[in-house]
């Protein structure tokens, strides 16, 4: 099974007034094709920063210090996204890798209709496929009714789309698109794109997509808004979807629907997903592999079943215990609070709160050790069995 | 894209304008442009009393007789063929009837010929209208012996017959019947309020038809409702082309004028409030003459291409008047209202020594030098230089702190010097000269005795007028402009117990009233002179007020203007003067 995405020693800092926040202190993870990797951790441990760093969407004062993001791109493996120029990155974003966010309501632009926002993804990436499809469409129409005048118009439109296919930036086309009557050719484009929007919306199980398209974001429910965000992301059927806590602020019933939708997409489209959440329940249900993050480091990485069966990193164990279960058992809380990332503790960043901490933990940062097949831990005295 | 748009637009603007280089010495040679500040109130001769309207009407309409060049005491015939006098028999020996033979072959701007009926109608129409605060009292006093058609409460006190009989047409001349002899009557008829208008034109435009039954409706119309407010039809050298109130008024040459047509094709009077803008237009040649406020004279010194006329005596003067009986009720300007160092009693100025103290503590030279740039003279009394019977040898007061201190010590039996006083002098804000005069009084009097306190406050013109009329001002500085060049027009308002200023001062002197009455009714000039000399001496002795300045005007014009002359009695004399005589090039 090939690794679709491999992140190596990713470091990202934020240069704020209080000092340099070392948000990511060397992250290594990989997403296998068709599989779902869950990233779990308390708020503020750097989950979202990882997601944004992968797509290089970190804005000043943040800066990606070092590391590699290798992405399997059309046959040859090692394409380091971080070293590529902005144009390449733009072709990847939304087309190969796309992202969905926690706050669906603020992720949608209030002044444009939902349909417009989804069609923007198509227009950005699939211009050539659209023009080809339109040319075929025109030819089909020409064959059906060969009324003289219509024919002439069709041929004219066809020529325009052919021209656009070769050189989409030509000034002549931009000029023609301004003339009122002549730019009727755009009708084809609008029809083709809206057909695709309806297609993606039905695929996501949205009822009556034609009506929904005209609506504005503030008129839709939370769940529906999240479906639209997913539609935007999956418009050009990317190979990797990064989901940054998509269901966190939805109430449980809607949350279940969205998770179910994502699972169906995974199976039907063979989509590989990087799923970020702080809810262990969701991880158990959806993810194949899990990475537990704490204060900018990954402390444990393993298959879902293995990690639930025997969590070997003290933090993971503590996390497990703090989740309410059916049997009545006292919930443990972890003493102390999340470290300040400006002056993080030496060695293993969890040692001040770790019950099993020994002298070495405070000095040396533990490396990843393979406890069992597909089960890695970064801890000096990890718990056995 | 946006960046391109903006720079593009500015580029076009610059290119389009740059080729407009300015050249040419005399701009628009046959159009005379006057830039001033006063707005015209109305074009109706019977309505207009302000100088700006007077200047416009004088360009369009003409009177029976007119001033002879620069003189104010002799006339030339205009619409009348002769100037009436006792010698040529056109004025009756008893000075009660004046006959004016009317010139023939004169046409109005609407083509109608000039007839004696037009003259009679013009004067009667003025007396019928007689608006509040209008100039027509000057026709009522000589013709009917009263000051207006209505009493204080506003109901009409005269009958139409009185007006009709006062002016009659006899053959082809017009006869005026006066109630009592009135020597300045000729100079009144030479002014714009006696201009001749075309009866047919006025009646067509809804004016008074000249009959008895409807005359009351046309009496005292609301502002702007008078018939000739915006329209004009006279016999003058220029016709009215257009009037945009507050903006400009444009006259165009009347080609079939009964005398030789004017040299200028067009005359424009523009309103330009901002001095800097006005000056730059003058320097750039866009204006041929401008109104130059006194304080900016220096800015035009040593500028070539400009001709300046200096020391033009104007028939106006500014004086300080002492209020003998100040109205104490609710009056902040007299402080405590008692002689206790924190105010003044209402009759403070009734004590002559106080008045003399003030008179001697005013530094006349510095005032004339600083406030008027040395371009004003000190008047000797109510009758000023340029008026007949002006007495140049009349004694005047001068700046003498010791004399002033002497009088102040004697004032109120020495109480004033011990206790001191505090009073407020007002001036209408914006009038730099009056403000300077008030400051001179304050600084010199406060220097005499630390207990003397004078405060100066500027107020709006409307408040200034209100406080003068209600008698609240302690001492007020105000000016007077001649209606007609005759001592009676100054002596009456300054000294007569019913005169405008003396009434507000509550200055009453029966001898003076008698002298004034005899002065106006005496036809023989030598006897009139004796009365007016006595009046000027009494004014010096009683010192109800002190003459401060008689301004000497200035006239500024570009050097390509020709034919300008100065007659003090013409409205806005220092500006356009008489457009008929002007030319350019």
């Amino acid at each position: 099974m090939r690794e679709l995405l491999k992140v190596q020693n990713l470091k990202t800092n934020f240069y704020t007034y209080e000092g340099i926040v070392r948000a990511l202190d060397g992250i290594d993870l990989d997403v296998k094709e068709g599989k779902t990797l869950g990233i779990v951790g308390e708020t503020g441990c750097g989950k979202s920063v990882t997601a944004l760093s992968i797509l290089r969407l970190i804005l000043p004062p943040g800066k990606i210090e070092s590391g590699k993001v290798l992405f399997w791109y059309k046959g040859e493996l090692s394409v380091d996204l971080l070293s590529k120029d902005e144009v390449f990155l733009r072709r990847v974003r939304g087309n190969e890798i796309s992202m969905i966010f926690q706050e669906a309501s603020s992720a949608l632009n209030p002044v444009y209709s939902v349909g417009e926002q989804i069609s923007e993804s198509f227009l950005l990436h699939q211009k050539r496929e659209l023009y080809k499809a339109i040319i075929e469409e025109i030819e089909k129409n020409m064959r059906e009714d060969n009324f003289f005048l219509k024919n002439f118009v069709y041929r004219f439109h066809k020529r325009i789309y052919k021209k656009m296919l070769e050189n989409s930036k030509s000034l002549r086309i931009r000029f023609i698109s301004l003339l009122p009557l002549i730019n009727r050719y755009k009708v084809w484009l609008k029809k083709e794109v809206s057909r695709r929007v309806v297609d993606i919306l039905t695929k996501l199980g949205v009822p009556d997509p034609q009506r929904i398209m005209e609506r504005y974001p503030h008129e839709l429910s939370g769940g529906m808004q999240q479906r639209i965000v997913i539609a935007i992301a999956l418009a050009c059927n990317p190979r990797l979807l990064i989901a940054d806590e998509p269901t966190s602020n939805l109430d449980v019933t809607i949350q279940a629907q969205i998770l179910d939708l994502i699972r169906r997409l995974k199976e039907n489209l063979g989509l590989s997903i990087l799923f970020i959440t702080h809810d262990l329940g969701v991880v158990a249900e959806l993810c194949d592999y899990v990475a537990v993050m704490y204060a900018g480091n990954i402390c444990e990485l393993a298959e879902v079943r293995k990690i639930f069966k025997n969590p070997s990193h003290p933090y993971t164990k503590a996390l497990m215990n703090s989740v309410p279960t059916l049997e009545e058992k006292k919930l443990e809380s972890i003493r102390g609070n999340v470290p300040n990332l400006i002056s993080p503790p030496e060695g293993c960043r969890f040692h001040p709160r770790c019950d099993y901490a020994t002298e070495i933990c405070a000095r040396v940062k533990p490396d990843m050790v393979e406890v069992e097949d597909n089960h890695w831990v970064s801890c000096h005295n990890f718990l056995r069995g | 894209m946006k960046k391109g748009l903006i720079t593009g637009v500015i580029g076009i603007l610059m290119v389009g304008l740059s080729f407009f280089a300015l050249a040419g010495e005399v701009k628009n040679p046959d159009t005379f442009v006057e830039a001033t500040i006063g707005t015209i109130d109305s074009l109706d001769p019977a309505w207009a009393y302000d100088t700006a309207s007077g200047e416009a009407i004088q360009t369009i309409c003409e009177t029976l007789i007119f001033w002879k060049g620069e003189r104010t005491d002799s006339f030339v015939p205009l619409l009348a063929t002769q100037v009436p006098s006792v010698e040529n028999g056109l004025i009756s020996p008893d000075g009660l009837t004046y006959t004016f033979p009317i010139r023939k072959g004169v046409k109005f701007h609407n083509g109608e010929p000039l007839t004696p009926e037009d003259v009679e109608y013009s004067i009667e129409r003025a007396m019928v209208q007689d608006r509040d605060g209008g100039p027509v009292w000057m026709l009522y006093e000589p013709l009917l012996g009263i000051s207006g058609s209505r009493d204080a409460e506003g109901n009409i006190v005269i009958k139409f017959e009185d007006i009709d009989k006062a002016v009659e047409v006899k053959g082809d001349s017009v006869v005026f019947h006066l109630k009592k002899p009135y020597p300045p009557f000729l100079s009144i008829l030479a002014n714009t309020w006696a201009s001749v208008v075309n009866k047919k034109f006025v009646v067509e435009n809804g004016g008074w038809p000249g009959t008895k039954d409807t005359w009351k409706e046309y009496n005292n119309p609301a502002p702007g409702k008078e018939t000739l407010h915006k329209i004009a039809c006279g016999t003058g050298p220029f016709k009215l082309e257009r009037w945009d109130p507050g903006v400009e008024i444009v006259f165009v040459r009347n080609d079939d004028y009964w005398r030789e047509p004017a040299k200028l094709k067009r005359v424009i009077i523009k309103i330009v409030d901002e001095w800097t803008t006005r000056k730059l237009m003058f320097l750039a040649g866009d204006a041929d003459t401008i109104y130059v406020p006194r304080q900016y004279i220096k800015e035009l010194e040593g500028v070539e291409g400009i001709r300046v006329y200096k020391d033009l005596p104007s028939l106006s003067q500014g004086s300080a008047f002492f209020n003998f009986k100040i109205n104490p009720e609710g009056n902040p300007y007299i402080g405590s209202g008692k002689l206790d160092g924190k105010g003044i009693p209402p009759d403070f100025f009734s004590d002559k020594d106080v008045r003399l103290g003030f008179a001697y503590s005013f530094d006349y030279e510095t005032y004339l030098k600083d406030a008027w740039m040395g371009e004003a003279i000190q008047p000797t009394g109510p009758i000023i230089k340029g008026l007949p019977f002006y007495n140049p040898e009349q004694e005047v007061y001068y700046y003498d702190p010791k004399k002033a201190e002497e009088h102040f010590k004697k004032a109120w039996g020495g109480e004033l010097w011990k206790k001191g006083f505090k009073l407020t002098i007002l001036y209408n804000s914006g009038n730099v000269q009056r403000q300077t005069a008030a400051s001179i009084f304050r600084d010199n009097i406060e220097a005499l005795n630390p207990k003397f306190r004078i405060e100066i406050r500027p107020v709006e013109w409307a408040d200034y007028v209100r406080d003068i009329v209600t008698g609240k001002l302690t001492l007020f500085i105000i000016g007077w402009l001649a209606d007609y060049p005759d001592p009676h027009n100054f002596v009456y308002p300054y000294m007569h117990s019913e005169g405008t200023f003396s009434k507000w001062q509550s200055y009453r002197n029966p001898i003076v009233d008698g002298l004034i009455k005899r002065g106006i009714e005496e036809v023989n000039p030598t006897i009139r002179k004796r009365y007016y000399d006595q009046l000027q001496m009494i004014y010096y002795i009683d010192v109800p007020g002190v003459g401060l300045h008689q301004p000497l005007g200035r006239h500024y014009e570009r050097d390509w203007v020709k034919g300008w002359y100065y007659n003090p009695i013409l409205p806005n004399a220092g500006l356009g003067g008489y457009f008929y005589s002007l030319s350019k090039g």
Binding site: - | G154, R242, P245, L283
Partner: protein, 342 residues
């Protein structure tokens, strides 16, 4: 949408009533003699001031005058303006074209430059571009308009010998414009000149517009720029901007399509004040450049206590302002769907 408009229009009536109350409160501050004095232009007319008071029935009790005034206003007779020597309503329509021309030419510059500078400053926050544009805008905003205007006049009219003259038209063009063979449609010189295809008048009118427009623009566009900058900064931080970037859109389209349209909303709401600011600027600019518009007329009326004109001015401004607010609300609803669909 329709009910929204009707509600807004109905709101206009109480506001206008309020405006007339304020106007009359100002009027009651004057005393009868004061008001009468304003009808006197020459000291010689002081003779019968009582006559003038009676003529204009200035001594009746205030509320009585208020009702007679309102009756007159509804009949369209707003009294006689001495400074313009014509009825107030007629004077308003006479002076309106000049002011409209000035605002017509400066408004686009103010808004265009303001938005452009505002968005560039926001996009490059805290870089040199941001500091420079902000400094220029702030200096423009703190510059006393009259001082700046007079300086411009001195340089471009005095020193450069009449390159950009004051007033609204040169002598020859104003004579021609007022002559019979020039069709007056809107009484706005530039537009009439175009309609009559008199290019030289059009250029002359433009030449007279340059200085006043610069004076007005420099001060007013600082306000637009500041509002635009802070609203752009706020929108840049929003979620949908990151979504747009995540879609793969390039920075230019993100700014142009997504950010600027949302950032325009606060600018539209504030352009109501912009109108008020413009009217203030117009008063000073027209006085300095001697362009006989509403601003000049109101200044002259205030200085010479021409009461009917002052009251008329406050009333007209009230009506104009309320109408612009209505237009702005409708524009606001058009841009922001959240408002339109309630």
């Amino acid at each position: 949408m329709k009910s929204y408009i009707i509600r807004r229009v109905l709101l206009v009536i109480p506001v206008l009533f309020g405006v007339s109350i304020i106007i009359f409160a100002i009027l009651s501050l004057f005393s009868p003699e004061q008001r009468a004095a304003t009808f006197i232009t020459d000291v010689r007319q002081l003779r019968d001031i009582q006559g003038v008071i009676r003529k204009h029935h200035l001594d009746a009790p205030i509320y009585m005058q208020y009702f007679s005034w309102i009756k007159e206003v509804l009949k369209g007779n707003l009294g006689w303006s001495k400074t313009a020597s014509r009825p107030v309503l007629e004077a308003f329509f006479y002076f309106l074209p000049n002011t409209v021309e000035l605002s017509l030419f400066s408004a686009p510059f103010i808004i265009l430059i303001g938005i452009y500078l505002g968005s560039t400053a926001a996009v490059h926050q805290d870089k040199s571009v941001d500091h420079i544009t902000r400094a220029i805008a702030i200096i423009g905003w703190s510059l006393p308009t009259f001082w700046f205007g007079l300086l411009l006049l001195m340089i471009f009219y005095g020193y450069f010998k009449g390159l950009f003259p004051p007033e609204s038209l040169g002598l020859n063009s104003s004579l021609y414009v007022n002559s019979k063979d020039f069709m007056r449609f809107t009484r706005i010189n530039t537009i009439d000149a175009l309609l009559n295809r008199e290019w030289w008048i059009f250029v002359d009118a433009l030449r007279h517009l340059v200085l006043p427009v610069i004076t007005l623009t420099v001060v007013q566009c600082a306000l637009v720029m500041r509002i635009m900058r802070s609203s752009m900064l706020e929108v840049l931080g929003r979620g949908y901007v990151i979504t747009a970037r995540a879609k793969g859109a390039d920075e230019k389209t993100v700014i142009k399509k997504h950010v600027r349209r949302n950032a325009m909303i606060p600018v539209i709401t504030v352009s109501g004040y912009l109108f008020a600011g413009l009217m203030n600027g117009v008063v000073i600019t027209e006085t300095i450049f001697n362009r006989k518009g509403l601003g000049w007329w109101w200044w002259r009326a205030a200085v010479q206590l021409d009461i009917p004109a002052i009251l008329g001015a406050v009333l007209f401004n009230g009506v104009l302002f309320v109408l612009t607010n209505l237009v702005i609300d409708l524009l606001y609803a058009y841009i922001d769907p959240r408002i339109r669909l309630g």
